[in-house]
Subunit: 371 residues, 2 copies
Amino acid sequence: MAKKLTSAILLVEGGRQDADLVYTSGFSAPDPVVLLVNGRRKSLVVSLLEFGRAKAEARVSEVLTPQLLGLEGVARNRLSQWAIAVVKRARLRTVRVSANFPVMIADQLREAGIRVEVSSGPLFPNRRQKSPAEIKEITKTQRAAVAAMRAAMEWIRSADRDRRGYLQQDGKRLTSERVRRLIEQRLLESDCAADETIVAGGCQGAEPHERGHGPLRTGQPIVIDIFPRHKQSGYCGDITRTVVHGQPTPEVARMLTAVKAAHGAALKAVRPGVAVKTIHGTAQETLLQYGFETTVKNGWGEGFIHSTGHGIGLEIHEAPSINLSSTRLMLGDVITIEPGLYYRRWGGVRIEDTVVVTREGAKILARCPYP
Amino acid sequence: MAKKLTSAILLVEGGRQDADLVYTSGFSAPDPVVLLVNGRRKSLVVSLLEFGRAKAEARVSEVLTPQLLGLEGVARNRLSQWAIAVVKRARLRTVRVSANFPVMIADQLREAGIRVEVSSGPLFPNRRQKSPAEIKEITKTQRAAVAAMRAAMEWIRSADRDRRGYLQQDGKRLTSERVRRLIEQRLLESDCAADETIVAGGCQGAEPHERGHGPLRTGQPIVIDIFPRHKQSGYCGDITRTVVHGQPTPEVARMLTAVKAAHGAALKAVRPGVAVKTIHGTAQETLLQYGFETTVKNGWGEGFIHSTGHGIGLEIHEAPSINLSSTRLMLGDVITIEPGLYYRRWGGVRIEDTVVVTREGAKILARCPYP
């Protein structure tokens, strides 16, 4: 096992969501790059057109290009050749890669006589435990999410209703699309982007990942889930509220009460050392106590059909998942707590906050009222 | 070769950029899903919480869940088990996967006795040739990009300059950040998102992928590169203009003239059947004729240091790359034409349009003035 822990790590990543690359080097690029982490030595290989930016921005020991690696002709354009060249240059015979490493490059490394250890867990386990600086960045994004949520809640609260029960703002029907745009404009003002924002009214909310569309009505639950990424830092935030304009139906009122109770109970269960299944179990039991059962029939699930939460950082979903596993929370984990209930007849209810695990338990990063 | 072409295709994708999945099934999800394309039969495996949405939205023959595949316990949470189960259910012994397929799942398929053919080219070569409906969607995104570009150009054009040459709007310094926010707000109004937008003034523009930061000055080249994605359709657009407030220096004026000429010459070279290297060569030669050489020294490249363009569709960069290869253009290719010059002393100049390849040559999808 000692050998596994000391293998050099090879990353081939690119695009905006290259969390391991950003975490290790502070660098990201629209096109793929190769990074070899050999103990403390980090060698980054980039194309010619990223060289200057990488020299200026990347926290690495050296920045290389295919040219500097001595590659010629078509090999200069082949990421697998970059990878083989940088590994051979370091005289390594084994590298460790992530489970998602591209199979073609892995196969070509193997053909070149390099052993490829595929990591089933995270390549950088320390990424889970957030530093004070990282918590500050996540909080910054979360504050932007809360500001956008407050604006959306106020817009829905202050809406008029027409004779048919549809919400109106500025003389026009209030739709999921309009609320989403308001939210995303607010996020942009804080330099945050959200490619997907959920504003799902009525039965649409019964699908946890339905974005929502069309006019919103009074008396219906409206699930608003905002999960932006800060454009500079790359750190994410995540918050959900379920609002009702006017009076909810008795069923939805009961769902709201139950989910709020499950959310509170799960939050209370958060502390360093606790198994995530204890937190998930607490949320499940609370919902059951309120009479809400989870059923699966022919593929359709109703009730509490997802985990209680997930880690969050440079990725919107990262370790640990707050599910049935025995993983234990640790100081510095940043996680969401987001129980929910989904019934096709009534719609969805979900309440979510993002918290950091402290010695005193869960600390909510940015407070937002529960309507 | 016939066998290769008829192998079933296995996708394990997730996230917003899952272009093959969206292309084949019309479905996307924030978490990974498995899709098996076996001739005309498409089997999609999703988690319980995506089942209803997948049933409603995915253009597939069947939607499965781990439960419906008969998986029990921890296997239900393992994508590799979903993949093995759906392949075995179809009684297949070979599957074809993309070069980027996750190595861990590929290895586990192999251990389960399934042959994994790794495709070096695209899994769905037809994705390159855009249908009229796709061209319409790309045009829609491109029009939003042009509207945002016009707003940004007008904002810079109408700016005042202070005594030190810094641009001013509304009594405040005009910065890259302010122009970028204006652009992204305009894009949002058209339901388009841009996680990265380049507004790079002066020497910053010498790095092709530098986003740009800080105050903008008169007399400097400012590279503005807008590449949004439509939030509904997922189709991308891409446009670049280089603007100068006031008088450019003689060097920058020469660069602007040369790049505009290279852009025009490359556009003229576009037609079905032409090798992409002919187009790239045309751009290179034109820039040389204007006296601009490309040099590489110790990793630093100056001059024309990237390809002339790239295919664009559900991905911002897709096939074909307009580089030194012998690939030939075909009717329905949608590509960018974007020659540029980069010198650390003077900054960057790039001009880019997105065009569709028609019988008559390049047709610009949305026109925008060249300042």
